[in-house]
Subunit: 173 residues, 2 copies
Amino acid sequence: MDTHTTDEAAVSSSPPVAEEETPWLTAKEQQFWRAHLEVSKLLDYQLGRELQPHCLASNDYEILVVLSEAPDRRMRMTDLATATLQSKSRLSHQITRMETAGLVLRQECPGDRRGLFAHLTEHGWQTMQKVAPDHVRSVREHFVDRLTPAQIDAMYAALAPIAEHLRTLRGRA
Amino acid sequence: MDTHTTDEAAVSSSPPVAEEETPWLTAKEQQFWRAHLEVSKLLDYQLGRELQPHCLASNDYEILVVLSEAPDRRMRMTDLATATLQSKSRLSHQITRMETAGLVLRQECPGDRRGLFAHLTEHGWQTMQKVAPDHVRSVREHFVDRLTPAQIDAMYAALAPIAEHLRTLRGRA
């Protein structure tokens, strides 16, 4: 849904100004690119749907996982925003919701003036433990188990350098 | 950031209730799954950033592309919500913003009671034509050109059946 193929550009009724120089995707590249976008979005949607019975959004679950893996199960809000690729204001709204649900707690750190920390509560930890088995089943059913071990190896080899490139751009390499 | 590895689960201080039956991801699967999540999110972020000088969000660009490919460059709002995997209320907010920017127009269809259509305006069409060359360069630079043709073929073969499975679940197969 995101770019033109060479063919589409060729039959376009009003060609873009820089068309002669534009490196349009080939039909194969376009097909791949759309499959990637579709899988990303639909998988996110489906996993989110399957978290709903647990009263969690995908983003909430991600926060629980990130905090559970942090030392002392807490993280500075700015670092949590970076780790979850959210703006600080959006994260702040999310943490407010999660605080109301008793999953996390926002606290100032004594002696640290660089702002607030988000802590995983015991309830948040228990929730993650309860949800994780269902979530991993969803990830397997809709994604991982639909790939062969060879495909998983090959795709990891392809994706890992791209992830690193994008992390560098994002300034957290 | 989304599931446990076998090892993590094994050392977990309070094991989940159903742990003995939970098909935790292996370390390789986990590594792949996180790379997939990271590339999806970071790529979306980076492409969005590079659309900003054009005063467009990623979602806006997607709407322009979908409408530009629809017959008469218009689509029923409900179909547009399905095509872009958004809730109707979220799409409605987005279309309101885009209408203010003169990119689309919401109109009732005479003789059709099944609701509103979103039309691409001439300004919306021109905008997409202007933005598309930059966008395709971004897609190449950060993703497609970082893969070999063989990797693109292999990943498409892996992703296409997953996309179809997820589309079926989403009820628009």
